[in-house]
Symmetry: D2
Subunit: 348 residues, 4 copies
């Protein structure tokens, strides 16, 4: 006799247990304001807040455009890795707070920033202009806040199949690019990381780029930032809390991760409010003992709550717009033949 209840509970809860214990740990660290973020720049800012100073082993750099900024955060030492929770490597965040209410030029600037930073990162990783690249769009296409990866993949200029039948002189600056949307564990029964690894083994690209929806610390990041990193995808990141890493180690080739924040964890929001109150910030509220706060939060983090995200009502508009911007930037970085002016060329 089939035990539907235990089966269904497992279905519902898979991925949840892992995350929950992590959250309880996180909440215990409350007072040290340990909230979750997939963005290195936010992790750096949290470390700064906690330490009251720039953490050692982190070098930052900022470039300003007319509408957007590109902030580069380098995590250089194991200590910096521990403090930020971000693996040693380089993370560029392009941030354009007003992108939704701005004219076309703002979107183009973000796409150009992304294109130039991605080109630079590929060059640093030794990926030449003719090297084949596999793009993987992570996430669940059925759930809007998790759909940015597959949506970007649907807008890419995919060429691998054409490359194979064209003589080199006809390729004219178009790189060989393949692209998959592997789905999520609940849909396939197979870990995303496994599917990507198997396709890499079979098709032997020179590098992989993974595109994913991210969880930010602050709602102001949703739909306004793009992060490019050279360390791949690490366990626990993403809207769906990817369970296994997708990295140079696991794939055997360089992995660049491009992410767009679309959600904030509910627990982050709650801890943020409590933090504001306990620190007496903004409101000059007297401090409440941190342990009481912590208990309140731990109590709130039921298995339900750890599976909840905060997302804007108009998330569909944000995913559509940002996937166009990201695909535009990726297309021009991947294909030399496309100039900056043609950043949206292929999308027409």
């Amino acid at each position: 006799m089939i035990d539907w209840r235990s089966f269904e509970e497992l279905r519902v809860n898979s991925g949840m247990l892992h995350r929950r214990s992590e959250l309880v740990e996180q909440a215990k660290g409350f007072g040290r304001a340990s909230v979750r973020t997939d963005l290195a720049v936010e992790a750096r800012d949290l470390a700064r807040e906690r330490l009251g100073a720039e953490p050692d082993g982190i070098v930052s750099d900022e470039e300003k455009g007319d509408f957007a900024r590109a902030i580069t955060v380098r995590v250089l030492t194991p200590e910096a890795e521990r403090v930020t929770g971000k693996r040693m490597g380089t993370y560029v965040t392009i941030h354009c707070p007003d992108i939704r209410v701005s004219q076309k030029e703002a979107k183009e600037e973000v796409a150009k920033f992304l294109s130039s930073k991605l080109s630079q990162m590929m060059a640093e990783l030794g990926i030449g202009p003719e090297d084949e690249v596999l793009v993987a769009g992570l996430g669940n296409w059925n759930a809007t806040p998790d759909a940015i990866g597959p949506t970007v993949v649907g807008k890419l200029l995919v060429t691998r199949h054409l490359h194979r039948v064209l003589p080199p002189e006809k390729r004219g600056g178009l790189r060989s690019v393949s692209a998959i949307s592997p789905g999520v564990l609940g849909l396939t029964g197979i870990e995303t990381a496994e599917i990507i690894a198997s396709v890499v083994e079979k098709t032997r690209p020179r590098a992989a780029i993974v595109v994913d929806a991210l969880a930010a610390r602050s709602t102001t990041r949703i739909g306004t930032s793009v992060q490019i990193g050279n360390t791949g995808i690490n366990p626990g990141s993403g809207v769906g809390n990817r369970r296994f890493g997708i990295t140079a180690d696991s794939l055997g080739i360089p992995v660049i991760a491009i992410g767009v924040p679309t959600v904030v964890d509910v627990t982050t929001i709650v801890m943020d409010v409590l933090g504001a109150i306990s620190r007496g910030e903004d409101q000059n509220i007297a401090e409440l003992p941190p342990e009481r706060m912590r208990d309140a939060v731990v109590n709130m983090i039921g298995p339900d709550m750890s599976q909840m995200v905060v997302t804007p009502k108009e998330i569909d508009v944000i995913v559509e717009m940002m996937s166009t911007v990201v695909a535009g930037g990726m297309n021009t970085a991947l294909h030399e033949a496309l100039t900056e002016d043609e950043i949206y060329e292929y999308l027409h």
Copy 2:
């Protein structure tokens, strides 16, 4: 010269301003625990908490099944309307906490409860078994948490066009049913309420049923409850905060509203935590002065936050499942020819 900024800001913010001022009012009422819910049963419970007693003018009733309960809340007086924020009328909430981890029988029980309560409400409103009914699926089909209305509409047995060409003896217990998904203001430029009113005027159905995604007070309600009410849709309700009512007054025919909670407002979550702390509940935490809490919350409610919702990561699975349950229950209530055993018949 076009002022894109003001235009785009308007686009982004339309619907937001209205809601924000309401939220600030709500937050000011904090301490009186005024949090938002579209569910009458939650509104009743909040009133109970505040008053420490059953509010006057509210009569409740409960029916138990093997898996689910049906709780009927009748708001009988203007005073009860004021206290609950729900218009005078009848609201039935079918609640099945374990529906996701239960076998098929639980889903069928919810569909049957829905069918029987809907039939009863239609009879009370004088809607006969041959009277034509228009169903409207509210919400934005592009954003998963707001898509339940259009998804239900896609699963209904629509017959109005066939009815017109069939002789009565061939109709065999199938009612004339039409169904529209009017979209949302941002997609059409027209108020949902206006589109429905115009179709009602043209096609002259005897009654309307509107299906919508709801905001609950508690995350435990998401995907586990269905509410049926005889007062239609009131301004401010739903995931997208409908701006105009869809009621017997505005349409000139009876309006039944069926809703499934898919989100909780972020502000509700935050106020809930603060409430728990301030009341010292669960945690024996000393009270913080309510006015300090209130200031903290008002401060947090920026225009961003009031457009944010809390929703489960697996919202796509919930919307798919609950829309099947709701459509199954509606099909059997609407069409006499379908028996309870055929509750999912048409869906195959």
Copy 3:
């Protein structure tokens, strides 16, 4: 007892009976090569073939671009209407045979042609730059070949709801535009024409533009042509064979129809082959008696076949591309503030 069979047959066949008798009539006219097309330019060419000369009452005009041509066909007399089967009025077809294998400039040229011809037609109909326009995207969004109308609507710059809250000096050249996708009879139970009429009565726009997928005579027209006409939608046109007209007569306001061919009727293909054989064209095949051909065709046109369409396998790519081109052209024609260079502006 419900008679499911007659009900279901009706569901399946609704719309079919009408069309079938029409097809049999058409086939009887075979030898006079009466094949179906929604394109006036093809209807003119068929009339030319039959008559061996330019039919009376038809005036044509052609404009050439670098990639595309715009052919204007004016049907001026009742006799010309009878001969072509197209209502008296003006039809512009923009044709770009290589649009799929051409660079971006070709797509932009088609969008600009469309924009300029649409502007001109609106001016001729007395529609001023500030007059409100309702756009209706006809067709079934679930069936790719019939989805072009709703897809175009999803890419329009909809402004009616913003207009109402903006002072005139802030509107800066953006017209008030609303847009609906009314669905198809099988989904709603309501005639598309009825829904549009009811929304027109309620919102009182100055003019309507309906966008629809068309049936062409020749497969070379699929995804390569756009037709703009000032006579609205006539019964029997479109992929789904609209059953009622959507015209100035039925709505009380000017109606412009924009269509993109996505299918050819199966019967057209068959009659085309038979015609080629019977006329001994291309192949120098001896003539077969036309009545034998006719019998063969009439025999083939079962109820099944009359519901079949011919469409390219890559129809999804065609619908996506052409809906972007059409929406780009419409956005610039509708909103003075958008220049020709910004033809795809809003789409980013």
Copy 4:
């Protein structure tokens, strides 16, 4: 300088060249009535017609239900393989001509036939009730007639990820099933066969089941038949004309193919009409010399026409219904715990 034209032509035409030369060959064979079909039962019937007798090496068998029939065709010899164009093996076609206009029982009978035939085929291939199975849904989810594979996959009870964390006594008759929708070459740049092979190598299932949309010879097969075969997918089959085989040879494990006809090739329709005329069937039309017919057909088969399919207008309804039937049958065959009465259980 990038040669967009050659690149785009390649994009549009990839997959087309292969098929075209095949079609010209086929047309040359005209008179021998060589038309394309993916259904073995139709290929047998065509061979019968040509030979005027049952071809050697083919054994057929038929089982009748109340609504449907299951016809088993065994291709036993290399000669039979040559004559039918179907690889040696077993093909079961379940045919229910009235499935769309019939009550629920007809759909259930088809699902039960499928379940029982699939179980039997798995047993014959030595696949035990606990062996892991990978399901692959072939085809393009963006184009309705090619979407049946991915749609079925979305309705399967996927369990592999749960199996790994459940003790055997808790699995209660649920097999380990994984499922992927690999997309099509134009979307990924990678051959579907390559993606499946790589996932098989990585996850090591005991067998694979591929689900695909098929091309039939006759429009009466569309949406009324399901074929189950034990020879996998062969090059040239399917709506998209799969270019590489997916077979026991290429994957190293047994491959069962399940297919639903959703289209007929345009050339098939044309050759059918010509055949009917030339054979003087039905109409007593005098024979036209076959070589003239052939020339006419070869002339018609341009690169455009060979990429065209014939499909019903209501293909969306057919794909939705048949994917439910197929997924229902597969779920009960794959999971012992599901009884025949629960054929649609999981779908609720």
